[in-house]
Assembly symmetry: C2
Homo-oligomer: 462 residues x 2
């Protein structure tokens, strides 16, 4: 069917939920990755209900039209970017909290609610949903689930996979499946909930989720900032903290370039040349004891250590880490990468980053969630923005990134710790999975979506 025929059917079924304005269609081409889809989608459907999603998928299936599901479009891998001939299906407007059960430590929500808004509402019940991607103020719970998001607190409090009991999923043909359960334990059949987490829009449209909650952590929060003469020393110190058996809530590492850029942004005195920093928080009943133990480990590893028992002072120390992205924006355009390695390999991975910087003559300021081995190397480059103000990474940057990805795999690591594959990493997916597993995974997507209309060109396209 022609594009206009598809739009006419959508409009007949969904009325003003269907937005074909140039502004909306252009906006649907991009996320926060810098990648932009080719061309513009034929329409944006702003779903308000499960029935809206089902209607859209039925029309898409009947007409063989691709569907790209979008939340708040804060992704960093291009996974939600919609292009020529595609329907952009936004679930951002489905943002209700349907149920909060403090006694069962669960909540049932629609996918479009922002992580930050959900947690503000849960706080009134003394509860929280632990996944805390850096984007939590602007990213949706549905998007967090679709990408399998991580964050700063993961080593202690887990990732999205650890915090979802069930998912309601609309299949490509419009059927609604209720996956998972409301119980702590449950092994009835295959765990399709886990399969959907991180599937990046290729298996269905997430229209609801049953979330596993935690109670807010009472007691002190202690914060430690420690500087080291170089990034390798800081990485070794973070590995020593992990090996010591103490479990920080947060352990963030900033290399010298990152630290210098943030100091400049915040008009702080410049750090010592080459110095790298660890910022660590402990919480819960043993926060003070653990902070003291960590401070000892850091001093033993050659760190210069400042320890605060004040929650506000701790937030000020962490503000340096949280200013990383605005600081990078001042340096040029950045491609934010996302490799993850076993924690013991963190020092070796920083050596590899230094090598890639040298050999490819690129600057790669890097921060790491050192508590879980997840690094965000920022490839900085200069390029002209296109008409939408977005910039694609040039090929020499991708060559450097390729070198870095392969180094992470050699160290027992993975291509992406929390951002997903999307468009930007699809060409490396088979390198990590192997051809047999890549093909098996692609076949599984076909069980959910026989026509291949769900987010085509993403993840499983070589």
């Amino acid at each position: 069917m022609s594009d206009s025929g598809v739009v006419a059917r959508l409009r007949a079924a969904l009325g003003e939920r269907v937005d074909t304005s140039a502004t909306a269609r252009r906006a649907a081409r991009a996320d926060l990755s810098g990648h932009v889809a080719s061309g513009t989608p034929l329409a944006v459907v702003n779903a308000r209900s499960v029935a809206d999603v089902q209607q859209t998928l039925r029309i898409a299936s009947a007409t063989g039209t691709p569907v790209v599901t979008r939340g708040a479009a804060t992704g960093l891998a291009g996974g939600a970017n919609a292009g020529d001939g595609e329907i952009a299906l936004s679930v951002r407007g489905m943002d209700r909290i349907l149920e909060v059960r403090p006694d069962d430590l669960l909540a049932v929500v629609e996918p479009g609610i922002l992580n930050g808004d959900l947690n503000a509402a849960l706080a009134d019940h003394g509860l929280w949903w632990a996944p805390d991607p850096a984007s939590r103020a602007i990213s949706t719970v549905g998007g967090n689930i679709a990408t399998g998001a991580g964050g700063l607190l993961c080593a202690k409090y887990g990732v999205v996979r650890d915090a979802v009991l069930g998912v309601d999923l609309v299949l490509a043909d419009g059927r609604l499946l209720r996956l998972g359960h409301r119980t702590v334990k449950g092994v009835t059949g295959l765990d399709l909930t886990s399969l959907v987490i991180g599937s990046e829009g290729t298996l269905g449209v997430i229209v609801g989720a049953t979330l596993k909650l935690r109670r807010l952590i009472a007691g002190d929060v202690c914060t430690i900032a420690a500087t080291f003469p170089n990034v390798r020393a800081a990485a070794e110190a973070s590995a020593a903290v992990t090996a010591s058996g103490v479990q920080p809530a947060i352990m963030e590492l900033m290399d010298a370039a990152s630290l210098a850029a943030v100091h400049a942004l915040l008009s702080l005195d410049p750090p010592t040349a080459g110095a790298a920093q660890l910022t660590i928080q402990t919480d819960g009943p043993a926060a003070t004891v653990e902070a003291d133990a960590i401070a000892d480990v850091l001093r033993g590893s050659g760190g210069s250590v400042a320890l605060s028992h004040d929650r506000n002072e701790g937030e000020r120390l962490l503000a340096i880490r949280r200013s990383m992205h605005p600081a990078m924006e001042r340096l040029g355009t950045t491609l934010i990468e996302d490799v993850s390695v076993p924690r013991s390999a963190l020092p070796a991975m920083f050596d590899e980053i230094a090598r890639v910087e040298r050999e490819h003559a690129v600057a790669i300021p890097t921060v790491a969630h050192a508590g879980d081995g997840n690094l965000h190397p920022n490839f900085v480059f200069d390029a002209e923005p296109d008409e939408f103000g977005v910039v694609e990474a040039p090929e020499h940057i991708w060559r450097a990134a390729d070198d870095l990805f392969r180094a992470a795999l050699r160290l027992g690591g993975t291509l992406t710790g929390e951002h997903g594959v999307g468009v930007l990493k699809r060409r490396w997916l088979a390198d990590e999975l192997g051809d047999d597993q890549w093909e098996l995974q692609r076949q599984i997507t076909r069980v959910f979506d026989p026509q291949g209309i769900l987010n085509p060109g993403k993840v499983f396209t070589r």
Copy 2:
């Protein structure tokens, strides 16, 4: 190919790994569920290596012969029982620990190692693998993964799903896939590791696993035993503990019939008629504070409370709970069920069990992992053992179980919290999943196993 032809090919490839003795083949018909397969398998292959498993699967695929993977055969759902025309593939002999990394909190193991043996070895490193099914002394890690096992500590320390980073899987055609990763975070492609956990031998043969470890918990262990006038009061008290925000490590509930049976077994004074008991442990840095808080909640709920700060005294109190199974064996033959409900629904579920007892005139002594809402109703009956000493549950027991399963589903629960579907619950699987999801799950098994030779008749057979 004829059975003797298949055996000849196995023997040519695997030599003395192939056991066709009557004793071995008969033993492979049963697990600990009471269910026995029809007929006897054509051979037992005692694999010692990944290559042995691959050889077996290649021959099975080439000849269209079904394969039933077995570990220590401690399952409670009949999932590992092998019958006529099938190859019983035992991985019990693949029991090595290949790697322990205290710095990365992971271990790489073969599937046949016993959970208890692994944890004994890990203790030397100050580490443990948290899943603690009641069978941990006699069940394998591979079996724990294949069933998605739970245990007593799950509300605080998680289930198997939370403790596996990766799985090595031999497919039906003999190809080896390495699923998952060694990192804390990783979202590269679909999460096939989670899909394999709890798949009960239908997707492939687990030949290795990368396990996520914890450090042994230092500090005190406090134990509380509280008695209540009846089981509903005990269930309400356990829900009140959960709702209070304190997190016990263990919270076990025994109803009056269970308690009386164990007291008789251990030659203790009989408990007050109708009385039910909660046994609760707290651990970690806040153990004492939490135990005191829990004791207050229990007293406020009408419990008679004894609190011990002594680890050995705590073990004596827990021994009553751990004697449940031998106590049941003295009452007759038991069908051990495994429903799970949201924690707030525990009192209502005990009401349903009392109703089923009345309406079906069966005794159902019940224990529950009250911290996570997982109940083990024991249907007691008299029946004659067959030639192998095993007894199948009669139809009137299944009618009572059917009534109980449906009650659990009505309360937002699930058929099986930790034992799996196997043979015994396959006829209820579609009731919980719905026909669409049931069919989708079955299709996914076909992607892994196009011929349907992996554990046929289990889980996805109506």
